[in-house]
Symmetry: C2
Amino acid sequence: MWGVPRVSEDHLTARREQILAAARACFLRKGLHNSSMQDLIKEAGLSVGAVYRYFKSKDEIIAAIAEGVVSGISQQIDEIAARRLPLVDSLGLLLEVIDTQLSPDGALPIAVQIWAEATTDPAIGAIAHARYSALRTSVRALVANAAESGELPPEADVDEVNSAVFSLIPGYALQRLLIGTPEREAYLRGIRALITP
Amino acid sequence: MWGVPRVSEDHLTARREQILAAARACFLRKGLHNSSMQDLIKEAGLSVGAVYRYFKSKDEIIAAIAEGVVSGISQQIDEIAARRLPLVDSLGLLLEVIDTQLSPDGALPIAVQIWAEATTDPAIGAIAHARYSALRTSVRALVANAAESGELPPEADVDEVNSAVFSLIPGYALQRLLIGTPEREAYLRGIRALITP
DNA sequence: GTGTCAAGAACGAGCGTTCGTTTTAGAATG
DNA sequence: CATTCTAAAACGAACGCTCGTTCTTGACAC
């Protein structure tokens, strides 16, 4: 027969999240591959056996983190798009979201590590592909709004323009992560000057 | 009397480059941390001792690769800037350069791995900072040209605009690496539509 | 008893690195 | 030119250690 669950399902997902949170903390501090299982087991305050009950390998933990790393950002972009503001204003709000994720406990430093992993590990590559596409699709709504409100040339292709607009997001994040500049407002002024010459 | 170099200096730098080339090949295939010293020693066709004569640790090899990974690109950007073409035309040429570096043996897949390492390793972080800044400065010449030839609003700040323009380069590279799109020409049309509305 | 769940000792594999030894290049010598 | 000599260069077995993972054990709820 099947055993009756000893603990609530909430407890189980909470444990899972506890492990993932510990893993994120370790990966942020030491990187995906310089964090040992022992590191993140200790960080989670659990035992080896407990962790291996919820994830059957380190790769599975990495994959789970890759799955979740930008889901919050996607949501927030959708909310911004729903407000149907002018393109540059939307981008301003979007950059605010990015700024909150640039901190040492934000999603973006881990996202960069996932990208690196994606270039050599097909399983992570597939996840990164899916998540990055989803982000790109969320931003597309901003560009579609701009096209409808006449901010773009009538013959402009929304997908093509979106490729360029979307670049501004990881481009900003990478500059901030690697060289610390520019400030959000300065970056926004740069965009404004570029797109309305 | 005293010993003189037993082999030519060319031989020594050639050996060094042989090791770095092998390391690049391994890192491309398996990533920085999933490539063992034995992997890249075998790839180089040398012995353990030979490799450790030229580099005193794996970290030193990684640092050496980080130093050199985008130097070729910087040069090519400078050449494009010297031609003083309209901004979008320069970007077109620049994207051609990027395309050549996107292939599985190009510099960019390794650059992404370096970025990831930079977020957790201060030594690599400093190198990445320097190299990324240099790239950004090279692109700045393109924007400065555009400002001089009246392609930008007179009050535009070149550095601020450059932050935005520069984003278009890693932004393109990341989209190509992670999701395979867009084509260069489509991307360029998107930029054109965005900046001349 | 019969099952789940957690604990942590134990394991083999593989890691980066060291080091004593062998080979080799080429100047010195006659 | 032939030989000797020596430090540089290359070699690769061996080392200590840490890795990710498995397995045995037992506590606790039915």
